[in-house]
Symmetry: C2
Subunit: 337 residues, 2 copies
Amino acid sequence: MYNIAIVGVTGAVGVKMLEVLNTRNFPIKELRIFASEKSKGKKISFRNEEYVVDIIQEDSFNNTHFVFCSADSSISKKIGPLVRKANSILIDDGNAFRMEENVPLVVPEVNEEDVDWHQGIVSIPNCTTTPLVMILHALNKYAQIQRVNVSTYQAVSGAGAQAVQELLEQTEQLVQHKQITPSIFSEQIIMNVIPQVDDFESNGYTKEEMKIVNETRKILHLDNLSVSATCTRVPTMVGHCESVLVDFDQEVDIEEVIKIISKQEGVVCRDFDNINNYPTPLNSTLDENVYIGRIRKDLSNKNSILFWLVSDNLLKGAATNAVQIAESIIKRNKLDY
Amino acid sequence: MYNIAIVGVTGAVGVKMLEVLNTRNFPIKELRIFASEKSKGKKISFRNEEYVVDIIQEDSFNNTHFVFCSADSSISKKIGPLVRKANSILIDDGNAFRMEENVPLVVPEVNEEDVDWHQGIVSIPNCTTTPLVMILHALNKYAQIQRVNVSTYQAVSGAGAQAVQELLEQTEQLVQHKQITPSIFSEQIIMNVIPQVDDFESNGYTKEEMKIVNETRKILHLDNLSVSATCTRVPTMVGHCESVLVDFDQEVDIEEVIKIISKQEGVVCRDFDNINNYPTPLNSTLDENVYIGRIRKDLSNKNSILFWLVSDNLLKGAATNAVQIAESIIKRNKLDY
């Protein structure tokens, strides 16, 4: 049984953390929940007990085994040293430590063994990277991947609970013919598509796009893999979609490709029997799987395939992966407190 | 001055036909408007006169110069012979004749000269093909294109007026917590993304995706150009977006690429000075231009670029292109009645 802390418990991912810990029967002895000043004192029930949201202090993580953090990078950076000092393990959902050399970036179905070299912090990848690397990991067993190009269709919940609220409010305002003023997003998001997720870097790519490039390489241990991405925000609540092109070093047999993908743990192929049976944000979320469909040979290159994937950005893209990492650490270290 | 007929005048594109004929000051002597039985007798005003919707009969197109049709393929096929018999010219928005050898498929900014060999029918391309070929036409002047991959984000108006109604109704039903039952689309479209536009073919691609492949080749006169596409429907009203990858036969200079594109007639580059100034369905529709942004070198291949485009599927994607074709025929034949 473990003592755990959740930082950012009132956020879009934080709420899912409690849900996932419960559905996965994570063995919890003591639970501490934290959020920002404005949520202090809020009561949250979990497994029939009531917990009170607190704010982080120097000793908040003493005697914990795992700290799950889903908050701004600035918060992660602040609590990193506190967690290390407390000899606990930080499993961080944000961008703060992902590319640091001594921080494993882990999707357990892909590189579980990387948890072994953690030094108090394990990062989970960005919610667009996680489902993609699960498919690429499977494909790379079949033939060497030469190049990956991704176009995303990302749900507003990836931008947090306030973004979800913004889409809901704008939907009502639209129906009531009221003025719509964007706040979280750069433009109105209802009835729109915004080709920007996160800030721009100087190379013309957004940070979100560069996360896909860099994190994919790190997780797959393929430092020179050619990856590029275009990330967009669409008016959906939950479930990130990705339209993906993969070039291999040789011509591929699509039936073999489908077989390989369908053997990948955590991935469900949706279009085996019925070509219309493709994943969508509404039919392929609220569970922990990555859904793939429309797997086909690329008409523009005999060495290439195209496919479409959907995964729940708050579950496998965040909370589920975080809890799985804790489970992996427990399993591989044969920890038992 | 010309006698023209509009078939499908009450549809999503038909309404725009009247708007475009007006804004482009098309010289009309006589206007006849047609639709299906259920719209017969409906009155529509145009240039301060009232017109009555009629149904098509054998002699409907006698003494017309141009017939603009935006209706089901079955209607186009029915009226094709009538228009030819009347010695008029059918400018058809649908899929009925596009790939026929004796039917030019024309985007005037790209292949205006193809109108010269019409035999009574000129087709306009699918609304996703038109903006794409305008960019590819410009790019091909700079360096030889080897391969094109497109992922689309298509508005519901591409599926017609009933689809627009369906999205509006579903939006209200969502706000009012009412049951949502899809009709036009295979699933609920509000708060969703559906990776299917038009029916599936046996190769795993949809008809919409194959239109992009085949029409692009025909318009550019590049029969072997490697093109592939993934088409999706998103919950937007108007404005199709495309995330595009283009491979060239050589390394490209991105500044030169931007220069070439910005010289293309009918195309507006949005992100010259400001990286955040990208096109979206809400900021780049309701006019006749194709908007392009986020033009950048592909990180996964030095011979490649990525870009993002938006165009109004009812205007340049349909009505505008149709009227421009008539204008091209008039200009090139020095017609003057």
